[in-house]
Amino acid sequence: MEPATQLDYNHQLSLRELPYIIRWRDDRCKRCGSCTAVCPVKAIEPAVKVQRVVQSEGPVPTPTASRKIVHVVEQVTDIERYCTGCGTCTLVCPNEAIEPEYNPQNKFLHFKNRGGEGYKRGGRRNDPSVSTLDRLKFTRISMLTDPALDAGRHEFRVRTLLGRILPADELPLKKVNGNLVVTHENGKFIPPVREIFPIMIGSMSIGALSPPMWEGLAMGVTYLNEVEGLPVVMATGEGGVPPRLLKSKYLKYFILQIASGYFGWDEIIHSIPHMVEDPAAIEIKYGQGAKPGDGGLLMAQKVLKLIASIRGVPQFVDLASPPTHQTKYSIEEAVAKMIQSMSMAWGFRVPVYPKISGTKTARAVLNNLARNPYAAALSIDGEDGGTGAAYNVSLDKMGHPIASNIRECYLDLVKQGKQNELPLIAAGGVGKKGNLAANAAALIMLGASVVSIGKYIMQATANCLGDEFNRCNLCNTGKCPRGITTQDPKLYRRLDSDKVAERVVEVFKSSNVELKKIFAPMGRSTELPIGMSDGLSIDDKAMAERLEISYAC
């Protein structure tokens, strides 16, 4: 009988409880140690084992048992060091001897609350199912009665407007010799409007992202504007901007975000007198699709010298942005006054708009904005949006899908006849399955003027490993194995900002082509088909009814 101490494994987890199980092949492994060294969470470790081997040599069976020492790579069952499935071990293995395998039977969430602390992570909602956006089809194909256009030959204008647009009957125009000229006699305010590419890079801060990642995105966006003539803009996220960029002529391609922590704004405000260009817009963040009602959080381990100086805070402290703007207590204060203040800071030359998370109450915010002549847009971030750090429960269970949210907001504007006055920016899960242009076009036809992307651009330009199977999602820890969401130079030196920039350019150039390939057969080329809902169908009657589009099967 074995002693009871050896039988008592009751409080240990088995590998079956964990989301990923490491498949290690003894026969291929050369014991170089690369995998165990690189694992960001130390989920695997080298181990020494004793093996009992029965051997028989010679012409007749003469089995003899011997014991030998072997070196193996072993996965730990410690929940704090669970394998995230990132696969960095596979990347560095010279012999393809190791890879994590997803374990669909895992009971990970039952245990990932040690110390009474809920599971926190980065990434997106862990829902690998097909989203509504991916179920939408473009079914109004121009045929003989209205010939389809040629995406390669016809002239296309894949552009949209960001900013408050005056209704035609309020334009300050007068007739002079048969021409219409703008009259400034009555002092009518003409809001600033930017013409941009309809897909933009959404807010990701320069603390959440590593320096090469942020730099790569910024360089890519600038190249697209300066060289390719594609007016792509990028939102900075909360946390400021490198001072050099604030004073450069390229600031016009960036949307500065102000959120409830106001991080980085001391630097920005002090730079205003030195700015040679206005920013593309100002985004006031009230909510985020990935973690609705939650504030921002930059974990202490990511607050290194550069970040501390840009944000104007000490190093290595948790930087929490409150869930709400603490100085404001009502929608009038929170929205109207913020918009006024930010507009005033740039002499009313810059569009200012709020960003909220997808919610049933989006229409209430929308209607408030519709009555505010200074509100430049409304950005709605759906439940499939991403984040650098949040509670798993917020990521997985909170929020509203973007498709019906954007649709009901658009139709509300249609009722008021204001659908062209207040552009809607849709975000959250765009390109979830890689169909960036198709998802963007679908949202545009549902009523969005602009589509914003985050996770897609990280995956496509820097090979972010995260997915809807909770793979990696270490963004909050500062241990990003790709060097995307870390401030650790040992990790981010893995990322080449030039390569990121190159990929940004490739992504936008190809989506520009793909958008044309969608719009051309639908007979649209001159203007973006915003709200062209007769072009869309879905294979579910209830969804079709909810979105007020046709059902096709």
């Binding site: 209205d146 647009i165 048969g178 021409n179 219409l180 000229v181 003409i190 409007v193 709200g531 062209m532």
Partner: protein, 370 residues
Amino acid sequence: MCRLAAITSHDYFSPMENILALETMKEGHDGSGLGLTLKDLGGPFEKMKGYPVLSGICSKKGAKMLDDYMEKAGFKLIDIWAPKIKAVKGMLAARDHYFARVYDYPASYKHKPVRERDDLLMNIRIALRKMGESDESIFVFSFYPDVLTLKEVGDPLQVAEFFGLDKDTLKAKVIFAQGRQNTNYAIYLYACHPFFIQGYCSMTNGENTAFVPIREYLTGRHFPGYIGYNSDSEVFTHILHYTSRQLGFPLTYYKDVITPLKESEIEGREDRESLKLIKQSLRPLCIDGPNVVIGFTPDGTCFMVHDAKKLRPGVVGGLKGKYALMSEECGLDSAIPKRDKTQDIFPMKHDMVIIRPKAEEVTVWNQLHN
């Protein structure tokens, strides 16, 4: 694809000229309907220019409802013109009443400004339309001084014979005719061009791929006349009305609204500042084609424009005092054979062909150079 035949002249002429032009373009329409709008009326209407003419079709029941309604509204019936219906093989059975009724304004409106009177006429037309729409007892196509509209399902030549237009004295100085090619929508009288609202009229061929956003924008203006849309082409008339009457833009800006220039092209225009604002504010009204639009305005000016892709080219030609705007060259040959063909105008994508009232002068306005 629909065929369009518009003629504008210094002298009165018969709508048969348009019908025969449509007949030569027959390969392009399937005979699913004919729409005719006549402006600056001659013949029996010549002496009643100031009085509004209500054009439509009704059943016996509808006639009673219509009479009662008009009487209550204070309109005094002055005259009734009705086509002399002739049974034609292949045509549907005739409906009870085809009419053009000439009314005098209610006493309270006689000295009101034109704008107010126009609103009254439109509201009456809409009320009558709504009264008779569900059971098809009343169809009303226009209610406006010096304008008459006839519409019926069938082959244009047969419909003309059915209405007895070949023998009638009905004449006008501006006549628009459309031979309908039924495509997406069921054959329905309210889907038949030309469309008319408060002195503005247009007809179009080709489908309108941007129909839904345009319709939603127009209905969002909350103007009572922006209803119907049984055809995706009705929005072209309403855009014309919205830009010209409601916003007070000069006619050429219609082209700038439906087919806006690129930013770089706008820079070359003297009125670039206003053009940029107009392009932004009226972004949903960009038509995106493929269409040719032929229209007239209350003063009798006729015009033709294309979408920017020019997949539906039209042609304008004629002599001083008589010009035709056609979807096909053969239609022009039929309408005005004795013209100098070398002077025919095939408008390019930036052109707007404008013919002044009484066909005195043709100008080609170029959007790039204003």
